[in-house]
């Protein structure tokens, strides 16, 4: 912030962060700054920023005129809100009953082993976040999971690992890879 770039842009263009805040403001306005819209506002914030950091929570608490601890309490009560940034790819394995009895636990264990991680965390290279979810409601496809939002049904540990690996390798730029 203290450093000035050699050729400062002269335009009045807003930074990505400001643009995102604008989006959040839109939701705030739509909800007329009602305090009961907190969860909706947090949904929007999570969608736009990817996760909820302290600055955003503070901003929401000021805008909705709610105590900061209240906002923090709500944001951490619900599974959906993440206070940590997520990886480039997100794999959500359904651990509902139907998926569980059909072996979803083995899928999670295999990914954990293959990528040296624990469910609910992100790999150290930030490539993959693994989440085990409570029933995604696609029980007829058991065991199922979503990879970056797309649904994969009737999986096995092998097919899942293959799909995740393919996803990761397809997105990584060749020049980026270092040995």
């Amino acid at each position: 912030m203290t450093k000035t770039p050699p050729n400062p842009p002269v335009t009045n263009e807003k930074s990505p962060h400001e643009l995102k805040l604008q989006l959040l403001d839109k939701t705030l306005k739509k909800s007329q700054y009602q305090q009961d819209a907190l969860i909706e506002v947090l949904h929007t914030a999570q969608e736009t920023f990817g996760h909820l950091d302290e600055d955003i929570l503070d901003y929401v608490s000021i805008q909705l005129k709610l105590p900061p601890s209240w906002v923090y309490g709500v944001a951490t009560f619900y599974n959906f809100f993440s206070l940590e940034p997520q990886g480039d790819h997100v794999c959500v394995v359904c651990m509902g009953t139907a998926c569980y009895v059909k072996g979803a636990g083995d899928i999670v264990a295999r990914i954990e082993q293959e990528f040296d991680m624990k469910a609910g965390t992100t790999t150290t290279d930030n490539r993959l976040t693994l989440i085990s979810a409570r029933c995604l409601g696609n029980c007829s496809l058991a065991p199922m999971l979503t990879l970056d939002g797309s649904v994969l049904g009737k999986q096995t540990p092998d097919s899942t690992v293959a799909a995740v690996k393919e996803k990761i390798s397809s997105s990584s730029v060749v020049g980026e890879e270092t040995s």
């Binding site: 302290e54 608490s61 105590p67 900061p68 601890s69 209240w70 906002v71 923090y72 309490g73």
Partner: protein, 238 residues
């Protein structure tokens, strides 16, 4: 104020209409254990120790969240209720690290007293032994989460009486923790008014005045009733 009649443990007694059942029972000189209830704060029904049997209800009810009504037939103690209370208290002890011998509130602790009163001499469940921190960043007070029983008297007094709402709870279930502002250190809190009400209402040694040694921390809660009566009944008109 009209008077109602109800039966408590087989005796006909009278209570004020609209009175909280727990208070009505205590007015009869009956000892009903509670940890989360505190006269003057909103009721929560979380510690489950004041469960009583009320005729006509399919389940045991917490007296603190029930309004006494005309003709109510209440049993406050029987073999089953006593057993349940003891088991619930054991669960409370198993949850965190309640080591009385090294606690600032030793011998002045509501949890400790309760265990003695209910005759809880051992815990049959696994101690969960969580590794929880102590926050002594505040100039005057400290919080030891190992001794917190999540009664949330502190959260309620901060919100309802002091009006600061510095404290709240993060996460849920077994991972619930009392937090300050955006989960910051207490000493860095912007909203804390340093009034110390939370420390006084805390039933255990979780919240304490800094500088206290083992057994030195005594809490007084009688300020609460006086402040509230002063406010609510306009006794302090200037």
């Amino acid at each position: 104020m009209s008077v109602i009649t109800l039966t408590i443990n087989g005796e006909l007694v009278s209570a004020r209409s609209g009175q909280n059942l727990l208070e009505a029972i205590r007015d009869q000189g009956i000892k009903l254990p509670t940890l989360c209830y505190l006269d003057g704060l909103s009721t929560r029904g979380g510690c489950r120790l004041c469960l009583v049997d009320i005729s006509g209800y399919p389940r045991l009810q917490t007296a603190c969240t029930t309004t006494a009504t005309e003709g109510m037939v209440v049993v406050t103690h029987n073999e089953k209720i006593n057993r349940y209370r003891k088991m619930i208290l054991e669960l409370t002890f198993a949850e965190r690290n309640h080591t009385c011998a090294v606690c600032v509130s030793n011998e002045h602790c509501e949890l400790q007293t309760m265990a003695a009163e209910l005759g809880m001499d051992h815990v049959r469940y696994d101690y969960l032994n969580p590794q929880l921190g102590i926050d002594i960043s505040h100039e005057k007070y400290g919080v030891d989460h190992n001794r917190c029983i999540l009664c949330l008297r502190c959260v309620r007094v901060c919100d309802e009486v002091e009006g600061a709402h510095t404290l709240d709870v993060r996460h849920r279930g077994i991972n619930s923790r009392v937090i300050t502002d955006l989960n910051r250190l207490w000493g860095e809190s912007e909203s804390c008014t340093e009034c110390g009400k939370c420390v006084e209402v805390c039933p255990t040694g979780a919240l304490f005045d800094k500088g206290m040694s083992v057994g030195e921390m005594k809490k007084k809660t009688n300020f609460l009733r006086r402040i509230l009566d002063g406010r609510e009944k306009n006794q302090w008109n200037r």
